[in-house]
């Protein structure tokens, strides 16, 4: 989950909520989804709680060298 982007996590969470609310799944599967959803929510909340603005100015060297220096 560490490598997951916030957007992906939110998307997955939304999908899980929708799937759960559909009520098509078995109880076992529902519990599994719930557990996964709760983990995702925790992950998202943690990211938000620790958010600090990061601004990277692309200097000429960075621009010339491309990705590696950024």
């Amino acid at each position: 989950m560490k490598q997951m982007s916030f957007e992906q996590a939110m998307k997955d969470l939304e999908e899980i909520v929708a799937k759960l609310e559909d009520g098509e799944e078995s109880l076992e599967k529902s519990l599994e989804l719930f557990e996964k959803g709760a983990k995702l929510a925790g992950f998202c909340n943690e990211i938000l709680a620790n958010a600090e603005q990061k601004v990277t100015e692309l200097t000429n060297t960075a621009i010339e060298k491309g990705a590696e220096n950024v």
Partner: protein, 407 residues
């Protein structure tokens, strides 16, 4: 410095002015140009503005006594034909045209160029709403393309910081006006689109600058820039100038924001809202799962009771059957036994009847009983001279044994 003629600024300006004023061709000039940077001095009623074409600009002034006769209201961007005298304003050293009369020339040529380019690109499908890329809802990185010194940079950063500090800003400084601006912005868009490294890949780009004159914003009407924006794989938000300013860039971008601040707001989900959203999701999941469990419990209970009943009925039926079998068996057995007993009884009764001593006595037989009350069924049971009783059907005889005669 002997021999060098040193002039004062005033002397030079007066001298140049004299040359200009001496040129008859400049006394009465008809000039086609586009109005820009127009200031209307309400108190004096004088109009100060510039006239320009694609390459050049000239300062212009129209004094109150001429301006009051105008049949239209001059505006920035308007193409006009003016008539006037060319001279030099000594105080500023500005060479300018003193406008006596002015006629509108339809759409300004810049505006015309703008409209033509807009139409051309629209026909090519560059503004097609169906080709606009969707913006990421939670961008991780925003590529910011703007001037290093502009207010736009400050506005965008402060709004992103307030709303969603989660977003990392990759700031690519460019010039946002002048001849090199379009080229630099194109380079910036190319740069972001070429990034392969996860950490330098922007999810969305903001191309922006603050307000300015039409000329200042003109680089955002560049055709190559428009095509680069269209080509970009990364969605682009264009926010150029104020709310009322529209550029080609705005039309071709995936989204046009009216101001730099608005662009920042569009890309950044409000963090508090996001937190609330997550909470709501968790709540919804909890509610659902609790419902689900309750429902399941009920189902299980219903299922169990249903099954139990079925089993009981089955058990009962089985028992009933066994019982019935037993009953049947019992009944048949009983009847058989009963019949047997009955027969036996009847037989016994008849036997009993036959054995009844009374019946025997009635036939004339008699019963000899010893003194101790036993039936005498053998001569060996008595001795000579014993007293015995003989029972007959209507009484008894007391006798004594005279003689025993063996058979």
């Amino acid at each position: 410095m002997i021999g060098i003629n040193i002039l004062t600024v005033t002397q030079l300006n007066t001298y140049v002015k004299a040359i200009l004023d001496g040129e008859k061709k400049l006394w009465d000039v008809f000039l086609l140009g586009e109005i820009s940077n127009l200031t209307n001095h309400y108190q004096s009623g004088h109009l100060y503005f510039s006239l320009k074409d694609e390459k050049s600009t000239i300062r212009a002034v129209m004094f109150f006594f001429s301006a009051k006769n105008l049949k239209f209201t001059p505006k920035n961007g308007m193409s006009v034909i003016v008539r006037g005298k060319v001279s030099l304003y000594e105080n500023s050293g500005n060479y300018q045209i003193y406008v006596e009369d002015m006629q509108p020339d339809g759409l300004g040529s810049l505006n015309l160029a703008f409209e033509q380019l807009k139409e051309k690109l629209a026909n090519e499908g560059l503004f097609d709403p169906t080709l606009k890329k969707p913006l990421p809802r939670y961008p991780q990185r925003v590529g910011l393309i703007t001037a290093k010194t502009g207010a736009a940079l400050f506005d965008v950063l402060s709004i992103l910081k307030r709303r969603c500090p989660l977003i990392e800003v990759l700031f690519y400084p460019v010039m946002v006006q002048g001849t090199k601006a379009a080229e630099q912005i194109i380079e910036a868009i190319k740069f972001f689109n070429l990034q392969k490294n996860e950490k330098s890949r922007a999810d969305v780009l903001i191309v922006t600058r603050g307000g300015g004159s039409i000329e200042d914003l003109w680089c955002f009407n560049d055709e190559s820039l428009a095509r680069e924006i269209f080509k970009s794989k990364i969605p682009i938000i264009s926010a150029v100038g104020h709310e009322t300013d529209f550029t080609i860039c705005d039309f071709v971008a995936d989204l046009r924001a009216p101001t730099p601040s608005a662009a920042a707001e569009v890309v950044s989900p409000e963090m508090n809202e996001t937190i609330l959203k997550i909470d709501t999701y968790v709540l919804r999941m909890k509610r659902k799962i609790i419902d689900e469990i309750k429902k399941y419990q009920k189902e299980v209970a219903a299922f169990a009771s249903r099954n139990k009943l079925k089993e009981q009925i089955r058990w009962i039926n089985k028992k009933k059957m066994i019982l019935q079998l037993s009953v049947n068996k019992l009944e048949s057995n009983f009847l058989r036994i009963l019949n047997k007993k009955k027969e036996a009884y009847l037989l016994s009764v008849s036997r009993l009847d036959n054995l009844s001593p009374l019946k025997i006595l009635s036939l004339g037989y008699s019963l000899a009983i010893s003194e101790d009350g036993n039936v005498i069924n053998s001569i060996t049971k008595v001795n000579k001279n014993d007293e015995i009783t003989i029972k007959l059907k209507d009484g008894q005889l007391r006798c004594s044994v005279n003689k025993k005669i063996k058979k």
